[in-house]
C-alpha cells in the first residue's frame, strides 16, 4: 500500500514537470525569437605555386677541372624575379676555384649565345657554403641553363651541390615572385 502511494506521487510529480515543460518551451521560445536576414555570395579562388628545380643538382670533378651543365626548370605557376642558389663545395685537396653561370638558352660549345652567360655569385672555394641570388629566371613552364666550372687541378674528388629556393611573400622586400597584382573585377 505504501509502495503504491509512492508510485502515485512519483507519477504525479513527473506529470506536473512534463506539463511545466510543455508550457515553458513555447514561452521561452517566444521570448527569445529574433528574426534574422542573411545574404550570401560565393567567390572561387586559387593560389599560385612557385618553385624551381635543377637537373642534375651536383657536379663532381676528379683531378681535372672543366665545365658541366644543368637545366633549371620553373615548376610553378607564377612568374619569378629571382632564384636563390646555395652552393656547397665539398672538402678536398686541389688548387681550384669553382664558378657558376646561367644562360637563358642552352650552352653551346661552352658559350651562351656566343658569350659567357651571367655569373651567379663570384667564385667558390673548397669546403664552402655560399648562398647567392640570380635574376636570370626561367619563365613559367620554361628553363634556364647552368654551367658549373672548376678552374685548376683537383687532387681529390670534389663535388659542388646546388640547392635552389624561391620565396614568395606578401612583403615586397622578401618576395622573389612577380610584383603583387591588384585586380578589380
Amino acid at each position: 500500500m505504501a509502495g503504491g502511494t509512492a508510485r502515485t506521487r512519483r507519477r504525479a510529480a513527473v506529470g506536473s514537470l512534463a506539463a511545466l515543460l510543455v508550457l515553458a518551451v513555447p514561452l521561452s521560445a517566444a521570448g527569445s525569437t529574433v528574426v534574422k536576414g542573411a545574404a550570401a555570395g560565393t567567390e572561387d579562388v586559387t593560389g599560385a605555386a612557385w618553385g624551381v628545380s635543377s637537373s642534375p643538382t651536383s657536379f663532381t670533378w676528379d683531378l681535372i677541372g672543366g665545365s658541366q651543365t644543368a637545366t633549371v626548370a620553373n615548376d610553378g605557376t607564377v612568374a619569378l624575379t629571382q632564384i636563390s642558389y646555395t652552393v656547397m663545395v665539398s672538402a678536398g685537396l686541389g688548387l681550384t676555384t669553382f664558378s657558376l653561370a646561367v644562360c637563358s638558352v642552352a650552352w653551346s660549345g661552352g658559350l651562351c649565345s656566343g658569350g659567357a652567360g651571367t655569373a651567379i655569385g663570384g667564385t667558390y672555394g673548397i669546403n664552402s657554403v655560399t648562398t647567392v641570388a640570380s635574376s636570370v629566371v626561367p619563365p613559367v613552364g620554361g628553363h634556364v641553363y647552368l654551367k658549373a666550372t672548376a678552374s685548376g687541378i683537383t687532387v681529390t674528388s670534389i663535388t659542388m651541390t646546388l640547392s635552389l629556393a624561391v620565396t614568395g611573400s606578401n612583403t615586397p622586400a622578401s618576395t622573389q615572385l612577380r610584383s603583387a597584382v591588384t585586380t578589380n573585377q
Partner: protein
Amino acid sequence: MRPTHVRSRGRRARTMLAGVFTLAVALFTAAAVYAGLTAQATGTEQVSSGTLNLTVGADAPSVGFSNFTGLMAPGDVDNVAVNLNNTGSLASAAGMTLWVAGSPVNALTNGSAAGEGLDVTITQCSVAWSAGGTCSGTATSILAQTAVSSMNSAGTAVALSNVPALAASTGQVAHLQVSLTLVGTEASTNGVSPSPTIQGLTTTLTYTFTEQQRAPVTTNQ
C-alpha cells in the same frame, strides 16, 4: 435464498446507478439552461508581419562575387564590389555580422599554415565603386583586414562596423568593396613546397552577411 452480504451488494449497486442517472439528468438540464444564457460579441483586427530580407549582388560595373580566374600570389589583391540591400519591410538593427566559409577547407581558409592564408577587408562607399576600384564618395571601413581562418564558421562570425545605410530604414543599399588578399611567406626548395602550404590550392568562398531585426516596438492604440 442468497446470503445477506450478496443482497447488500446488490442494493448498493442499484443505489449508485440511480445516483449516476440523477446526476446525468441534472447536468443535462444545467447545460441547457446555461446555453440559453450565452451571449457573444466580436471585433476584428488586421495584423501583418514584417519581412527582413537581405540581398547581395554585383555593384556594377563590378561583376561582384564570381570566379577569380587569376592565380593568387602572396600580396595579390582581388577587389569586387557588391551591393548589400535591405529589401524587407523591417529595418535592421546595427550589428551585422559576416562569416566566410571555404569549400573545400584547406590552408587558404583554416589557418593550418600558421600566419598564412586569405584575408578579407571590406570598405563601404557612399556611392557605387568605380571600375578601377576607387570610391568617389565617402569611404568607410566596415571590416579591417581579417584572416578568413578567424571567421570561417557561423560561430566565429565577426561584427561589421559602420553600417548605417543598412541599419536605417528599409530599401537602403550599401556599396561594399570586398578585398581579398593572400598572406604568407613560403620558400620552395628544389621544386618542393613546404608542408602545410598555401600554394596551388583552390577553394570556393561563401560570404554570409547576417542582419537582425530592429528592436521590437510596443504600440498602444
